[in-house]
């Protein structure tokens, strides 16, 4: 990616994000979110975050890899378990990295 395209992406992302933040504050609080949009927005975090994380776990160098040899998938599952039990970002980070390093060291794959 060229430096120009990168800065255009950063600038565009900044403008869009600012517009979202300003939206209702600028509308003086007179306008409410339409009910259907409000219902849909409720599912956005779960859907988007999952959509981001899944390819990062299931794909290695651009190919689908579902096996014991995929250390990132296994470490990701361990991290999900930690996140569920502890609800702590810090524990999830530390536990997930430790799981990955351990799996890389022992090497379950062929």
């Amino acid at each position: 990616m060229s430096t120009l395209a990168l800065w255009l992406s950063i600038g565009g992302a900044g403008v869009v994000t600012f517009a979202l933040r300003l939206s209702f504050i600028a509308l003086l609080g007179r306008m409410e979110i339409p009910p259907f949009l409000g219902r849909a927005l409720r599912f956005v975090p779960a859907a988007v975050l999952t959509a981001v994380v899944i390819p990062l776990l299931f794909y290695e160098n651009g190919t689908l890899e579902v096996s014991l040899g995929n250390e990132r998938l296994l470490a990701g599952l361990a991290a999900a378990l930690i996140a569920w039990r502890t609800r702590s970002v810090l524990f999830t980070l530390v536990g997930g990295m430790a799981a990955l390093w351990t799996l890389q060291a022992i090497g379950l794959g062929p």
Partner: protein, 257 residues
């Protein structure tokens, strides 16, 4: 940015007022300090996000100034993290911006919820407070406002205290992450921090069967949509996930009737 300004002489007289008044009475300066103090415990929890952005950003080939520029311009950890793999895969500007839009849609909910409290502010204040709007700033201020402890003119200062403290902590954490990423470049698989932070965010976002359905449909779609051209997989999976949640909600409601 807008036209309303924070004038230095106003701040000076506000500080003066705070010193002269009883400590119990809230003044702008006191409200600002109260906000900044209230957010301190949250700042510690914020640090991993900044670091988690800085390290993989460098690992994926961004420069220090680009990583910092992103934290200043976008100032939204989850969206910045989502953009990194796209930037490193050479996705088009439109795809990156659209993805950031999806990830940050929730900010409109906060905007709508805070709007009544900021209704009478000049446009410059609205701009400044909007720029600083984050999950954490929203959560910390709305509970405080709804408790009715803050008078109308002091709300902006309380919020500013909260949000500015978050801004400073996040920029510092980004910088720390950048150095960590440069130091550990290669060998330590630090880019794995990226999926980990999303796992830590998504698990609490799955609160019931409907949000679970949204995550499941998005996840299954993401596995197969990753091969879509133009890096459209993320957006496609997110949209299918939202649809999945809405369908699940309808099915459950119909079952109740």
């Amino acid at each position: 940015m807008g036209r309303g300004r924070i004038r230095p002489e106003n701040i000076a007289s506000d500080v003066q007022g705070a010193i002269e008044e009883e400590p119990k009475t809230e003044s702008p300066a006191a409200a600002f300090v109260a906000g900044a103090k209230a957010i301190v415990p949250v700042l510690l929890a914020l640090i991993p996000f900044g670091v988690a952005f800085g390290a993989p950003a460098i690992d994926n080939g961004l420069s220090t100034i680009e990583a910092l520029g992103m934290s200043v311009f976008v100032f939204a950890a989850a969206a910045q993290l989502a953009a990194i793999p796209l930037l490193s895969a050479g996705a088009s500007v439109a795809i990156v911006v659209l993805t950031v839009l999806m990830v940050n849609l929730r900010l409109t909910l906060y905007s709508a919820s805070l709007a009544p409290h900021f209704k009478r502010l000049p446009v410059g204040w609205k701009g400044l407070l909007s720029y600083l709007l984050t999950d954490q700033a929203y959560a910390a201020t709305i509970t405080h406002f709804d408790a009715g402890e803050t008078e109308e003119p002091d709300k902006r200062w309380y919020y500013l205290g909260v949000a500015l403290a978050i801004w400073v902590a996040f920029q510092a954490a980004t910088l720390a992450g950048v150095f960590l990423g440069a130091w550990a470049s290669g060998g330590w698989s630090l880019d794995f921090v990226l999926p980990l932070i999303f796992i830590a965010l998504v698990i609490p976002a799955i609160k019931d069967r409907t949000t679970g359905a949204a995550a499941l449909t998005a996840g299954v779609t993401a596995v197969f949509a990753a091969a879509l051209p133009l890096n459209l997989g993320l957006i496609a999976a997110a949209l299918v996930g939202v649809l999945g949640g809405l369908v699940a909600e309808n099915v459950i409601e119909r079952g109740r009737r």
